[in-house]
């Protein structure tokens, strides 16, 4: 399914520009082991199970799915925080799977991550100046007065008081801590920033502040984002394109408005229809498809189409033959035997 790379994106989604990231058939399995002296592998959690993905320079790719679908693992495997089991990741044209630690360290400058929990992701024993300045120091980019000047500049960029250089994380609120995490991620002027649920732990009014900040920084520093969130409203607001994951696989990917207004995969439709809309009239008009049951275990995913056990449209073929990602026009891809919201000719052509 490497076709995802060559097909044009929809107009208005920065087509014609190069891919910053090309992910091909990426797999990450975690072994389940048992035994005290001798570890025997008794199974595998197939957290990411064959993902193809392109991220264009300057775009925001939103990644959605239920907990346990593998979206965080995918992010970490892409930026090599955990070694993938197999597959390829090309960053700026260069293969980065299997790089030696020294080469990888250089590359880390260009890929940074913002974590979900602003309380757990900052070292409580370090001062803010150290937290934000350490990446610069480790890469030998600045020291002494220059380091201090750069850190204060970064604090200002993310909307914190530069005078607070010497404070500890516990002296800040959740939203301010998330700004510290963002300043740290920006310190090395990365090209790619992975934001893994950056606003989920924050209150609504603070969420909007952080989302607006990330938006400003993208323009100012020419950033490319992979944005993970389970809040489908947030994802629609920040993303140019959206990828929907289910049990380790991408089931649908396309321009944000196309995915939300005309979802092709029944899983996407059920996710969207389950979402209460903060507008009583629009909410009352919403047609709900309530999925039965819970997410199956990724250690033992259903055969063929992984969604067939919960899918209201499933037929026999869904449990025998795995659907591949197909292009339905406009850069909108989905992996389904019974695509929704698609005209007959488009389905036949796909």
């Amino acid at each position: 399914m490497t076709g995802a790379a060559t097909e044009p994106l929809a107009p208005g989604t920065r087509s014609g520009e190069d891919s910053l990231l090309e992910v091909r058939d990426l797999v990450k399995h975690f072994p389940i082991k048992r035994g005290i002296v001798i570890d025997r592998e008794i199974g595998r959690v197939r957290a990411v199970d064959g993902v193809d993905l392109d991220v264009r320079k300057g775009e925001t790719l939103g990644l959605v799915g239920e907990s346990g679908c593998g979206k965080s693992t995918l992010c970490r495997a892409i930026i090599q925080l955990i070694p993938p089991t197999s597959g390829s990741v090309r960053f700026d044209g260069r293969e980065i799977v299997g790089l030696r630690p020294r080469e990888m360290r250089e590359l880390r400058r260009e890929m940074q991550i913002i974590f979900q929990d602003p309380y757990a992701s900052l070292n409580p024993r370090k001062r803010v100046g150290q937290i934000v300045g350490d990446p610069l120091k480790l890469h030998g980019l600045a020291s002494g007065q220059e380091l201090r000047r750069q850190v204060q500049e970064l604090l200002e960029v993310v909307g914190l008081n530069p005078e607070h250089f010497n404070r500890y994380p516990h002296e800040f609120s959740g939203g301010q801590r998330q700004r510290i995490g963002i300043a740290r991620a920006l310190a090395l002027r990365p090209k790619l920033v992975v934001a893994d649920e950056p606003v989920s732990a924050l209150d609504v009014s603070i969420q909007a502040q952080i989302i607006n900040l990330l938006d400003d920084l993208q323009d100012e520093f020419d950033l490319t984002y992979i944005f993970v969130a389970h809040d489908l409203g947030v994802i629609r607001h920040v993303s140019d394109r959206i990828a929907v994951m289910y049990l380790g696989k991408i089931v649908e990917i396309g321009p944000a408005d196309a995915v939300y207004d005309n979802p092709i995969h029944p899983y996407t439709l059920s996710l969207l229809s389950a979402l209460p809309i903060p507008d009583p009239k629009a909410n009352a008009a919403r047609e709900q498809i309530v999925l039965e049951g819970d997410l199956p275990s990724p250690a033992n995913p259903p055969p063929a189409c992984r969604f067939h056990t919960r899918c209201p449209y499933a037929t026999e073929i869904c449990s025998t033959e795995e659907p591949q990602l197909r292009h339905f026009g406009g850069g909108h891809w989905a992996a389904c035997h019974h695509p929704l919201n698609v005209s007959e000719p488009a389905a036949a052509a796909a």
Binding site: S67, D203, A208, N212, G233, R236, H237, D257, P278
Partner: protein
Amino acid sequence: MSLLEVEDLRVSFATEDGTVKAVDGVSFAVDTGQTLGIVGESGSGKSVANMTILGLTRSPATTIEGRIRFEGKDLAELSAEELRQISGNEIAMIFQDPLTSLHPFYKVSKQLIEAVRAHQDVGKDVARRRAVEMLKLVGIPDAERRVDNYPHEFSGGMRQRVMIAMALINEPKLLIADEPTTALDVTIQAQILNLIRELQERLGMAVILITHDLGVVADVAREVNVMYAGRIVEKGTLDQIFYDPQHPYTWGLLGSLARPDRPRVPRLAQIKGQPPSLLAPPQGCHFRPRCPHAFGRCVEVPELEQRAGEPGHLDRCWLSAEQKRTLRVVAEGQIGLEVPAA
């Protein structure tokens, strides 16, 4: 007389740093069959107010004032023992995190049977049959077998169902649900919200739903209280709050939302700053420091009363009706506090 009437409730905690006024003069009422949504951010006092109903905030360091009348009885005056007779029986509560609300060492059957036998004089067999019935009612498949599982053997959504089953097993008249779906995925959230609605119709309960999620409120509640820094700042029906909001904080909340059902707006209308410390809240209107429309009079506390809204629609804001109508519109058809420049 309503089923539950909370009147001028004040809860403060003595801490090393001073007194925290968590709830500062809150009044509300719920009737049988009604669903009241209480919306607010962390620290707004929405959970403390409701935990106080069942006496869960009582401690030597807590000062509680005001009246909490349930079917005419003042719960604030009851002893801990008397409150225990009511909690879990006539009033039940469910919390955000099912794992910390269920005992990890005991089978679900034991915990459910105990809940029944604490309030009803029935044998173990009867209580167990009731437990299985309840698990079936909340949609746990294979309930006869699953009743003998431990809490960790259930998934998050299933655990939340077990907790709902435990809360409802004595058919309470009032259910207080504190962020019941916040820890769950949207598909599971939809199942749980539908379940609460369905059970409410069947059992005719009153429900107080505490949440920060305006989507959940729009889905379940009929009446809404908006809380900020220990006070109710606006109170009205669902439609009044969403389509004719009177308080700038409510505008800010509505504007901060990224709508899933509409194409993106260029900028979210945020609320600047952060909620005040309740150790030293600002004088007058608590929202004043974050409000771009604040003026001289805002140093006086505005009472919660009908101002520019329809009858029954109350708020705490000094702005005139005319100002409210124009200031809340930040873009065409969009309500918010202010749209920041890029």
